[in-house]
Amino acid sequence: MKQRFISSAQIILQLALTTVSLTGQSYPGKPQIIRCRSLEKETFSCWWKPGSDGGLPNNYTLFYSKDSEEKVYECPDYLTSGPNSCYFDKNHTNPWTTYIITVMATNEIGSNSSDPQHVDVTSIVQPDAPVNLSLETNTSANMSYLWAKWSPPPLADASTNSHVYHYELRLKPEEKEEWETVSVGMQTHYEVTSPQAGAKYVVQVRCILDLGEWSEWSLERHIQIPKERLPPEKPTIIKCRSPEKETFTCWWKPAPDGGLSTSHTLLYSKEGEEKVYECPDYKTAGPNSCYFDKKHTSFWTIYNITVRASNEMGSNVSDPHYVDVTYIVQPDPPVNISLELKKSIKRKPYLVLTWSPPPLADVRSGWLTLEYELRLKPEEGEEWETIFVGQQTQCKMFSLNPGKRYIVQIHCKPDHHGLWSEWSPEMYIEIPTDFRVKDMVVWIIVGVLSSLVCLIMSWIMILKGYRMMAFILPPVPGPKIKGIDTHLLETGKSEELLSALGCHGFPPTSDCEELLIEYLEVEDSEDQQLMPSHDTPSKNTKIILKETDSDSGRGSCDSPSLLPVKSRESRALPSTLQTRDVRAKEKKGGKGSWETQCTASEQKTLPCNSESAKSCTWLAAQLPSSQPAMFAYHSTVEAFKITLNTTNVSSSPVLVGNEENQQSLYPIAETVYDDIEKKSEMENSKADQTTVQVRQNQRNDKPPFLNPKLMDYVEVHKVRQDEEPTLLLKHKESSGKTKKCTVPGTSKEYTKVSTVVDHHILVLLPDQRTQHPPVSQESVAETSQNPQQSQAEKNTSYSTTTPSNSRRDTSGSDYMDPSSFMPSFK
């Protein structure tokens, strides 16, 4: 049975489901009771909300039962309260019972019912809101009132109006947020005591029954409270001004508007008068102003001016304002400002600013006199510089920087009590900078020139640096012993010493030897005079050779032995007398390197170069062509640069042997000598001590020539006894030949060089011995030694700084001692 039932139920379910699945329709959703409400406790209504309808039209039924009963009733009235509602009228409403209400939704497929709702009528009472709310305002005697009136909520059943409602009212000004709530009681009107004047209010009311809830608030009502009506406040007079001392205007500030239209009037009276006038012109000067024209303007009288504001409620008067027109003059700013750039004499431009007084001011009649003031500043500057100009209408401005922009303004004031005008509109000034360019050009030229000068100076410095240095800081001469190199002495190598002392070039070279030989040969053949002794040639040669060999100090080419040879050949050598060739190059300081060219008879030049240390050049005396007797010994004993170490040995002057007899040679010699003399003089300029003025042959002097003698080594020619004694080279006629100095009397033989003065002057000591006919033998004998000794002695003599006068070395033959001139020199 049950099974069958169940199975049938299942079948039905399945059917239903299939139906649903087939058609998409189902039984309705559950409805829901929204609320139930009673308006006046005698009736109530309930509303429900339908659930889903399941796709089919639904039917709703409401069932209710009272809690004390079980009977289920259906809703008596579905219509009154609207759709989905049920209205319980008086007959069906029992306030003291609880209703249990359900709503059922039915459609073709099935039905569904809501949850039951327990309703207690007393608890659902809520009246409607009051209606017909109206508002009124009333203003009387400066008081405003606000009235509110309304009606109770309407009821369906108008007969039963015994309900007693309590009302509540709330209001607020429109712009505010908070409500002011007032409990009114059972009246249906209310009076707001002191609303805000001028505010707009919003009002609402609601009601409640003795039990239940408050109704909703009624609709809003708005009302505008009129403003308070007051007489106006006090106006104030702002200022009075006269722009040209003929009229004036006064301005006032109006009273705050109380909502009512306010009008203002200006009243004035003059000093000494009682009569009060009203403003003649309210319009010309704009709103809230009064313009006094010429007729109404009096000077030197005080005006008493007041302004009255009046409206419906009353009027108010400002404080009096006393004004004497004379003192309120404020002119307009100056006009016609113009600039003019002028150039002054010094080419510095200045600015002339001119302007005119404001047009209204009557300056021409003298009625109003204006004073002006200027202010200017650089465009980027902050501070104004103010210049008081006075009554003139122009200003010269000198202090402006070219190239900058300036802003300038002017204003004016009456000369007596008055007020400054406004500043004129800004005026821009710009000074052209043309002349600056010229300045720049000048500076550029100066810069270029100075840089050039600097370059030149530096170039000079580089090139002549040494000289400059020497010029500025002359080197300190060390102690110098003439002729001796301490070093070499210490080392003790004679050869070196000698070589140091001697001239490098002098040791005869092979060439010279040949020459010598040649010379010798020639000499033998021809010249007899020259040849002091024929027998000596060999000796001479030997000697010479020897000499030359051993004589390191002697200029090889110019060795005395050579000289005769040369001289012999001098015939052939007129031209060879090239004393001119002798060039004494003297160099000061540094290395005095001599470069003399010894011109051999055959025009062989034997350059004798000496290092700085020594140079001895022997000028080969050119033998006179014609006169063999004369030996032109142009031997120049150079200052052996004895000062080996010192580099500043200046080349010794060329002691040029005088050549006598040879006129032809003389000139040349002279020239040479002259030159050399000059040079020597130059060098001697400083010499104070025994400077040997090697002045050979002065003009036409015939130095005693030692021609006849075969000077083996006549280094030094005799020095003449003149005012300036000259050094004569003398050959030491070694051999017995009295190769004395043929120089008459005056000649001496100087055998020894005593000193070298100034590095270039050879001071020779006369050889006493040689005054007499020399012992040739001796001399000869000595000659061999002599060279060396002579050299040595020379060296020594050279090295001795003090001229040793009578010092006579054994080898005096070699050295001539210029004793003759010694004293003078000494």
Binding site: G272, F299, W300, V363, S365, G366, W367, T369, H417
Partner: protein, 143 residues
């Protein structure tokens, strides 16, 4: 002010309209009218200890200036009369009228502030009149 009774032109047009003699007359009268009150005032304030010293010297200076100005105007007036620019109908009356004014009661009864106020006004008057007069007689100089 004690000079308030004087009938003086109160506007530019009036000043330009009245004859020069009258203008000159007025100027002199005004200047004369202030002579006595000024000296009176100087005496008065000398006894005021609280005033600074330069006020006293200033006041004296002003009195001297007024006197010099009056003398100057008189001289100019004479010159003008001699040159025929103005007539000498009103000659000599200014000083007497002015003196009478200056001796009046009002002059002596003025308070200090009134005095200063009145003097300021009258000096301004005199200045304006003189300027107008100058430009009327010699219009070429900065007029």
């Amino acid at each position: 002010c004690h000079t308030s009774g004087m009938l003086t032109p109160n506007g530019k047009e009036y000043v330009q309209k009245i004859p020069r003699e009258e203008l000159t007359h007025l100027i002199l009268k005004l200047l004369q009218a202030w002579k006595e009150p000024l000296s009176h005032f100087n005496q008065h304030i000398e006894h005021h200890q609280e005033l600074p010293d330069d006020s006293l010297s200033k006041a004296k200076q002003i009195s001297n200036m007024v006197h010099e100005l009056k003398t100057g105007v008189e001289k100019v007036t004479e010159k003008m009369q001699s040159m025929g620019i103005i007539s000498n109908s009103l000659n000599g009356m200014a000083s007497s009228e002015g003196t009478s004014l200056s001796m009046s009661n009002e002059a002596n009864m003025m308070s200090d502030s009134d005095f200063i106020h009145c003097f300021r006004r009258d000096s301004n008057k005199v200045q304006s009149y003189l300027k107008i007069l100058k430009c009327r007689i010699m219009p070429e100089n900065s007029c």
